[in-house]
Symmetry: C3
Subunit: 134 residues, 3 copies
């Protein structure tokens, strides 16, 4: 049985500049391994061009609406000072936030059918790391 | 005395499409019941069309400014793909976030006079559930 | 050795209406004092005109891009109802959020070279208080 006080890493690879990646199953798998029935799950995303959110996954159009609206509010290449071309992703990251506190109920994360944890708006195809406490 | 490790539910009914509901007293009541003097309070909102925030309540105009600005940034019916008519609420939910970590000092939540915890932007008159860990 | 269950205060003074203040060293110093090697750090900002975020600090232009974009999205003096002149800061506070949950690995906070915790968009030169749980 894993140590419930130890942090687990989730490695991700993004495919698009801006996207939402469903990490619910990866988080659930870590929770299931701990055999803890009731508790709190801490999620932390260490990348400053990515963030964490929980939102609907039943209808994939919600994902498109979220990313489209984020791109309207914080467009790519809108005259930013930062020279790396990813200033919009840094700003989106701060708007969504990099930490989440969630009820953890093994084997489920305590999410309804349509709610999923997402990692989002990576600006490039990087190998991301998401930290899930358990 | 309630089990401080168990999650408590707060049930809410919204009255308007977009609104901020003050849940401070409900959270305080749960904290007071635990008889714990010092600790951390975790709040989680399981609805993907609602979120949690702490902001000023002394002057109700702050609430109006927050909801008006959110409606300007993410308007209702702005050509979203999601067919349920509540895409804006899903997006607002991700911007505000669904979890809060707060100092809990019985019998007060550790908030000043003018700060209150809010649940916000429910898009319809639903019976909401807010989860407060204790 | 400090009590790891007790909350520590970080006092800050802001110099500009809207700014990001790097509080990483102050948080690290508190973590180092606890002598705890592995755990979770809770940060809470009790001011409703300020918020918390983690973002890049290697290139200071990211900070400017963040504050400039926030000012575009939520401008000062845009016809708000709140009469104190700081409605935009209240709204920015709700967008960024007032709590952060972070891995704490003594003596480091678990942040990479370029990531720093920030307290931001204070609207006036106040003596702020940031609460760091340990």
């Amino acid at each position: 049985m894993p140590n419930p006080k130890k942090m687990e890493k989730i490695n991700l690879r993004t495919n698009n500049r801006i996207e939402l990646i469903d990490i619910t199953d990866k988080v659930q798998a870590i929770i299931a391994k701990t055999k803890i029935k009731d508790g709190i799950c801490f999620l932390f995303c260490p990348h400053t061009t990515a963030g964490l959110t929980i939102n609907e996954n039943a209808d994939p159009s919600v994902q498109r609406d979220i990313t489209n609206t984020l791109n309207k509010l914080v467009p790519e290449g809108a005259g930013y000072a930062h020279s790396e071309g990813n200033a919009d992703s840094h700003i989106k990251s701060s708007l969504f936030g990099s930490s989440l506190t969630k009820s953890r109920q093994a084997p489920r994360l305590g999410l309804g059918e349509s709610e999923r944890v997402r990692s989002n708006f990576e600006e490039e195809r990087i190998r991301g790391k998401l930290y899930a406490w358990r």
